[in-house]
């Protein structure tokens, strides 16, 4: 789960080393059903003062859910360490971002955090309702039942179309719902001849998909703002998170996602040559 550091007007647990202890949401399970999505966060908190505020009804665990595809942003508050929230499925689509916080429910004048960084020792703060007291990180999921980030079909984030140029190199369009590879008319014809054939899949992955995917992974890992709200970006991000590849080298990541495309490409060539040999001797 990712955590970004920020500058808060008071010490916040989970923000760099402001406070001792921890606030984690693990495990975070979600369940995609036809009509509703269930979120099941388990909040693990260790900080004496913040625990006390929650016990006293002055703060709550907050799960903030946001979907950039459907103008959806909502929050769910609880004081239980294990809880479940339902979101109607129709309200979200594609990537759903989830953030976890502890927020003040009411104004807390003279808030004295416990387990402070020495810089804050003995200091008190006037906290207002809504103020973030702890950050538990961010995650995301794809709100689509048949999308599995651990076994993602390439077609879920990339497509190949024909361009208007007769010959020449392939072009890439990152600004669509999917990454679009644009082939020249000549290459498109050759592609159409082999598309869908199992023997050709390895070659197509190695020669077309692999180089494009390396660059796309690079864009996601760099958090390229130009593409951050594209569907393909969210899907690729979910794949990286799901497979634990977020911080790995794009070259290695692309090979893992495509399951060793170069080896499969060689296998394709080998199989094609064998087939041709058999034909020659027939």
């Amino acid at each position: 789960m990712r955590v970004n550091s920020k500058s808060y007007p008071h010490p916040v647990l989970g923000n760099e080393d402001d406070l001792g202890g921890f606030f984690r949401v693990a495990p975070f399970h979600y369940e995609l059903k036809k009509d509703e999505i269930t979120l099941n966060p388990i909040f693990n908190l260790k900080n004496a003062k913040i625990e006390e505020l929650i016990r006293d009804g002055k703060a709550s665990f907050v799960t903030e859910v946001e979907c950039q595809s459907t103008f959806f942003r909502s929050s769910y508050s609880t004081r239980k360490t294990i809880d479940r929230f339902m979101i109607p499925s129709k309200l979200v689509r594609e990537r759903v971002a989830v953030g976890f916080y502890v927020c003040a429910d009411k104004d807390i004048p003279g808030y004295q955090p416990s387990e402070c960084h020495p810089d804050y020792e003995g200091a008190s703060f006037d906290v207002e309702a809504g103020d973030v007291l702890a950050v538990g990180g961010y995650t995301s999921f794809i709100a689509e039942k048949n999308f599995d980030p651990l076994r993602p079909p390439v077609s879920s984030f990339m497509s190949i179309v024909v361009g208007s140029h007769h010959e020449g190199p392939m072009q890439i369009d990152y600004e669509g719902e999917k990454i679009t590879v644009i082939l020249s008319k000549t290459d498109w014809q050759s592609y159409m001849d082999v598309r869908g054939q199992k023997l050709a899949e390895g070659m197509l992955h190695a020669s077309i998909v692999f180089p494009v995917l390396i660059d796309a992974v690079h864009q996601v890992q760099n958090g390229n703002g130009d593409y951050a709200d594209m569907s393909w970006f969210g899907r690729l991000e979910a794949i990286l998170d799901g497979k634990g590849l977020r911080d790995k080298d794009p070259f290695d990541v692309a090979q893992k996602i495509l399951d060793n495309p170069v080896s499969r490409g060689f296998q394709s060539i080998g199989s094609l040559l064998e087939t041709n040999d058999e034909r020659e001797y027939e």
Binding site: F72, D131, M230
Partner: protein
Amino acid sequence: MNESMNKTQYQKIFKRAVIEQMRADLRSGSSLKTYFQHSYPVKDKDLLLSTIPVQGKSPFLKALKRDPVATDLENAIALHEFYGAIDETQASDPRLWAYLSHVEFRKYSLVRWGLPGEYKDLKTDDAKQRAINQLLEHWFVRGNDRDLRRHAIARLWWAAHLTYAPWERDPGFFGDLKKKDPYYFTRILLSMQDIYQQVLERAMGRSDRILITVLEYLGGNKKFAQSREKIRDLMKELNLIYGTKKIITLDRVSLKSLIEKVAKEIDTA
């Protein structure tokens, strides 16, 4: 009355692969000329029937050449009434909106978000590229709400949808805002182009609680609402506050008074 008028039909949409091809053709410039034409050749094999029920003839969207913004409100309401059965997932589907801008409401899209002049006026590569970018922005959706805010037709439907009778959607929070007119807040949102852009362009607008409470303030403070800079500053300030304070968790009274306080500070600065 003709019975077929009331028969439920289902909205046509483009196939996904067709849109990808349309975008690629536009990006290459090969289809740019067609965006000056009043009709768009559509083949049946390019279309799907969606599960969106529609009854009768789709509304006529007005677009005055001299003041196209003036009809945004009535068009938004007409669209929302006609496509009232769409849910949020369907209403963010790129296939639907590309079909509506290219085919169903092509005439409106050409007047409101089309290219000026004629194809032969696009003499340089730069001019062609600018035209292509404008068309990609207003005639296609790529799967995010920024595109929905800018798409010729989607922007109207979503403006109405996000603001339609909030007291019905969340009576516990908006119960005290109940009005006779379900489009009361739509009227505020579309009363000025600046309100729409400034309020919905920011992520704040995704929270209906924040969106409606801001519109409530703007509706009651017309002078403030007429200043583009003040609305922009209000949304910027709320965005800044949101970084450290989850104002989405506030109750209605607290959220309302926070927005009033921030607006007052901007007003008196």
